[in-house]
Amino acid sequence: MIEARNVYKTFQTPDRREVKALVDFSTRIEKGEVVVIIGPSGSGKSTFLRCLNRLEDIDSGEILIDGVNIYDKKVDINKIREEIGMVFQLFNLFPHKTVLENVTLAQQVVRKRSKEEATKVARGLLEKVGILAKERGYPSQLSGGQQQRVAIARALAMHPKIMMFDEATSALDPEMIGEVLDVMKTLAREGMTMAVVTHEMGFAREVSDRVIFMDEGQIVEEGTAEHFFVNPTHERTKLFLSQIL
């Protein structure tokens, strides 16, 4: 379903140094698969996720979604993005819109749904993430965990084929991580294709099909969550796991 082929991506830092974010990066994510990407800060895991819906430009390589190279200039990227839900570390809810409007806006603007239809979809999803009671509130009136659940509902409202989570629980207070992970686990069990950048190994163990460990823009090691817990092979993997577990 998703395939990255030999992707290279470098960043320029403000002081004009070059940082290699992705180096000859290739992987595949199949339909219905839940892939967890772990790795130290700066290893390129978020960059990879952001490349999957072209929030970043790449230097070379291809990213194919259902066989279409999304970096092809002829591709309408907005059509591709409609099919990819993204959840951000800092939620990025629209602060000037109510909770309900956050979930209905893109449905109306992008999917061209009527207001009634969009509201119906939104209410269903807000109920699913357990936050329907706050539909008239503004994001600033919600806790971090509630905001992130609204952000998940907002992405789901587009009925995406794949959901991406970019450190979705990293900015949350510890007591709120659980409520967001629960929503993500439910999605995984329902068969959603998911690419999840996280440090939550418990989540990886419970629902992931595959874990990718990245460092310096490359895949160091990949396998099931059990493999990472029981016998990680590479030294760098062992070191990293010892730091986060």
Partner: protein, 265 residues
């Protein structure tokens, strides 16, 4: 609001300054016979206008006619300044260099030349070419002038919105234009209301400069009235007060809008 000892000291100093200056001006001041009684009829009067219009009714006096024209010029100029400013502000951030350069050149040229010169150029040169009325030329000059400042304010406003907002909107499949319209600009406008208010207050006051192209605004009518009656002090105080009425109303209106938009904070 709580008054304390500091408020008392401040009030005391203020009273001393007031008393002192009153003493100074009455003792050493000029001899001037005030004619405030001539002011009301410059605002409103009841009577016939001319032989052609002999009906006796309540009519606007000369200053009020000027007030209305200044109001009209200001409203049109603010409206177009917002449009120009929004376009310029977005263009300044365009990824396409020619658009960026043109908008930057516009801002720099307009901000770095005197408004009075611009009014003359637009009225005498552009106005003659395009056969513009004094009203159109004067209003256009003000809108173009304020548009450059509004453009910079809008640009700063857009840049102050966290880039995650654009990313979230784009990742939902919105185009750049849709994201701007629904997500970025509404938030940016809310944030730039205070500097915009300041800019528009300046515009109302700067509109007095269009009197130089014989546009009969408040300032122009005030000068006419002074030329006829020599009651310079009373008339200019009244003119100043009428400008204050407009700008203060604008201040209040923007504060009201600001409070209403603060609902989502």
């Amino acid at each position: 609001m709580t008054f304390n000892r500091r408020s008392l000291i401040t009030l005391g100093i203020l009273a001393i300054i007031t008393a002192g200056s009153y003493y100074f001006f009455t003792r050493r001041g000029i001899t001037y016979i005030w004619h405030w009684e001539s002011i009301p009829e410059m605002l409103f009067y009841k009577g016939a206008k001319s032989a052609d219009d002999p009906a006796v009714r309540l009519r606007m006096g000369i200053l009020m006619i000027g007030f209305v024209l200044t109001l009209k010029i200001s409203v049109f100029a603010i409206f177009f300044a917002i449009i120009i400013g929004t376009v310029v502000g977005i263009s300044r951030l365009s990824s396409e260099p020619v658009t960026r350069w043109i908008s930057m050149a516009y801002v720099e040229v307009i901000r770095n030349t005197p408004l009075l010169v611009q009014i003359y150029i637009i009225y005498f040169f552009v106005g003659s070419l395009l056969r513009l009325s004094a009203f159109t030329a004067g209003t256009a000059a003000l809108a173009i002038f304020a548009g450059a400042y509004v453009g910079e304010i809008v640009r700063a406003g857009i840049q102050s919105i966290h880039k995650g907002q654009m990313e979230a909107a784009r990742s939902l499949g919105m185009t750049y234009a849709e994201a701007m319209r629904h997500i970025i600009l509404p938030q940016a406008f809310k944030r730039i209301i205070p500097p915009l208010a300041g800019q528009f207050i300046s515009l109302v006051k700067d509109s007095s400069l269009v009197s130089v192209v014989a546009l009969a605004d408040l300032m122009f009518q005030g000068q006419q009235a002074v030329a006829r009656t020599y009651h310079a002090f009373e008339i200019y105080f009244t003119v100043a007060f009428l400008y204050l009425v407009m700008t203060f109303a604008l201040s209040m209106a923007t504060q009201y809008i600001e409070r209403r938009l603060a609902i989502s904070d």
